[in-house]
């Protein structure tokens, strides 16, 4: 029997995994004509024009800025609301705590499309339509339950005696919570923040429905531009390549914590 070298299968896997991403990157350096003309593995006429267009045209780069703004707002809201909630779930017993915890998760079970119309009407009624905060709040619907779920797992791994020791040492609840407890579960906060960031970053439907011009996300810019000025595939590929960057950046910082989160079974 022929033995495959140890590196063979992983390499094959990585090649298949990276192929579409390579395709996207390579397309972003081609002209639209070349893309439509036929398949080529390397750009024949290497061009940076697509990127130049994105970084100079406000309708393009504002898309990134808008997306980043509501994603960051959403992450901050989700984590600051989920921290005390997760603490309550991990430390206290109250009537229906288990049911409430499960109910939180059910918020993730309905497709966001279900909520698009009521949200649209609600936000229009209170003049929040086409604002960053509208999208950030809408994304809380599925990010807060997720953050609570992840953080609760990390917090339950911290013995209750730690809280008690702090009280015995004279700490008040909030001083203990902010000075001792939050740093102790920093890894969990990192993981939760990453997932909030990621889900908010890739969510298109709610973001598109709740915005028109001022807070228009990059994904919406991409679909709209493509339909009005023909198929500018090179430009789209460049825009797509750029959307990968924030995710890659964030994942770099939390990569070690995520492994820990997996070990706790909560990611």
């Amino acid at each position: 029997m022929v033995r495959l070298p140890k590196w063979f299968i992983p390499t094959l896997y990585i090649v298949f995994l990276m192929l579409p991403i390579y395709g996207l990157l390579s397309m972003s350096f081609k002209t639209t004509n070349e893309i439509l003309g036929g398949f080529s593995f390397f750009p024949q006429e290497f061009t940076l024009e697509n990127y130049v267009k994105i970084f100079t045209d406000p309708t393009w780069y504002n898309g990134y800025i808008n997306s980043l703004i509501y994603v960051v707002i959403n992450t901050v809201i989700s984590i600051s609301v989920a921290l005390p909630a997760a603490y309550a779930f991990s430390r206290y017993k109250f009537l229906g705590d288990k049911h409430l915890f499960f109910w939180l998760l059910t918020n993730r079970m309905a497709p966001p499309a279900v909520f698009a119309l009521p949200f649209f009407q609600l936000y229009s009624a209170i003049n929040l339509f086409d604002t960053h905060i509208a999208v950030a709040l809408a994304h809380c619907l599925f990010n807060i339950p997720l953050a609570v779920w992840i953080l609760e797992g990390f917090m339950s791994g911290i013995p209750k005696e730690l809280d008690e020791t702090a009280y015995l040492d004279g700490y008040s609840f909030w001083r203990f919570f902010l000075r001792i407890f939050v740093p102790t579960i920093a890894a969990g906060i990192g993981v939760a923040a990453f997932f909030c960031f990621m889900y908010s970053w890739v969510e298109l439907l709610l973001a598109k429905t709740l915005t028109s011009v001022d807070a228009k996300p990059i994904a919406a810019t991409m679909t709209r531009t493509a339909s009005t000025s023909g198929y500018e595939l090179g430009l789209l590929a460049a825009a797509g390549s750029l959307t990968l960057i924030p995710g890659a950046f964030v994942i770099y910082f939390v990569r070690n914590y995520i492994a820990k989160g997996f070990a706790l079974g909560r990611v």
């Binding site: 013995p159 730690l162 008690e164 020791t165 015995l168 040492d169 004279g170 700490y171 001792i180 102790t184």
Partner: protein
């Protein structure tokens, strides 16, 4: 600090964890709470610390009712069985934390932390994180944090239970010395009778949420008020048997009988219960001879533990040296009748037993 518990009762979800308990701990000394798991040691400590509120009853510190005073204001220190330190703080910051919260100046904090670190041999580790320490060092850090405050009441909840044998012995020797100069009242929970004897001080024997007896450790050991007290303060468990007393004769069975000691002779004739500690049963020598059928013989260090049946009673003999016995073998055992503990039908101790 003098700690008094007045008729303290603790119930959780309709279950009673601590039955009506009144206890006056001895000021400035070691007070040991001895009992098995679920006997209520930890609950009693948590009540003293203020981590839990009693269902009824009062807790007094130095003549002041502290029942309603929250834990932060009681100035109590506690060390748990699990090594609890603040993971995000260095060892130095861990030890300094209660002082910083109390608002001491930087130089005062530094001085006291250095002194305690030196006492507990933690000076070289001050800049490390708790996760980089061995178990023994982690528990030393926890002890240092408890000591540095200069609390009048220090609660130690089985602090040595998670340490390996050698470290346990080492710290057990150090503990009384560490607290001797502070004048603090120390409450020490343990499930090991031997540990209580080695630490001395005073011992309260606990059984299923009740304090059976409280007094100087040696006295609690020698003169248990009841069979329950003797059982709690004996490891392996104390051997018991029903005996019949008639005149000056004590009869365990037709073949096993002996002469009653003076303080038993004067009692009414009838049935009594005797208790013999495992180490008082010998495999050679003089005294009352009983034939035991060996169930199992195990060796623990330099001791042999022999489990046997004597006239349908399950007994244990703990003896020096290594002795091998076949299972089912009939062996002669001996015990000193003078050292037997006698209990009446209400399992109350009949006093005036020979001193060891």
């Amino acid at each position: 600090m003098a700690i008094e518990l007045h008729n303290v009762v603790k119930q959780v979800d309709g279950q009673t964890h601590i039955y009506d308990t009144s206890l006056n701990l001895v000021k400035g000394e070691f007070n040991i709470l001895l009992g098995t798991t679920l006997s209520g040691k930890t609950t009693l400590m948590r009540l003293m610390a203020g981590l839990e509120k009693p269902t009824s009853g009062e807790i007094w510190f130095d003549g002041e009712n502290v029942t309603r005073i929250p834990v932060q204001k009681r100035n109590v220190a506690m060390v748990y069985q699990a090594f609890i330190n603040y993971p995000s703080f260095s060892v130095y910051e861990n030890i300094a934390s209660p002082l910083k919260v109390a608002g001491l100046s930087k130089s005062q904090v530094d001085e006291r932390v250095m002194k305690i670190a030196d006492l507990l041999k933690l000076t070289p580790m001050l800049n490390r994180q708790p996760s980089e320490l061995s178990g023994g060092q982690q528990q030393r850090t926890a002890l240092a944090r408890a000591l540095v405050k200069g609390s009048d009441l220090v609660l130690l909840d089985e602090p040595l239970a998670n340490l390996d044998y050698k470290l346990r012995e080492e710290l057990r020797d150090e503990l009384p010395k560490l607290f001797a100069d502070t004048g603090a009242t120390v409450v020490y929970a343990t499930s090991e009778p031997l540990e209580a004897l080695l630490l001395g001080g005073n011992t309260a024997t606990l059984d299923r949420g009740r304090v059976v007896q409280f007094g100087p450790t040696a006295q609690t050991y020698r003169n248990p008020v009841s069979l329950t007290g003797a059982k709690v303060f004996s490891d392996p468990p104390i051997n018991t048997a029903r005996v019949r007393k008639s005149g000056d004769n004590i009869q365990l069975s037709d073949s096993i009988q002996w002469k009653a000691p003076a303080h038993v002779v004067k009692l009414d004739d009838g049935e009594y219960t005797i208790g013999i500690r495992p180490h008082q049963i010998k495999i050679s020598g003089v005294g009352v001879n009983v034939k035991g059928k060996v169930q199992i013989a195990e060796i623990s260090g330099s001791e042999s533990i022999i489990r046997m049946t004597v006239e349908n009673n399950n007994w244990v003999c703990e003896t020096h040296g290594i002795h091998a016995f076949e299972v089912g073998e009939e062996v002669d055992f001996f015990f000193d009748a003078e050292r037997c503990l006698y209990f009446d039908n209400a399992e109350k101790f009949i006093a005036a037993q020979a001193m060891e």
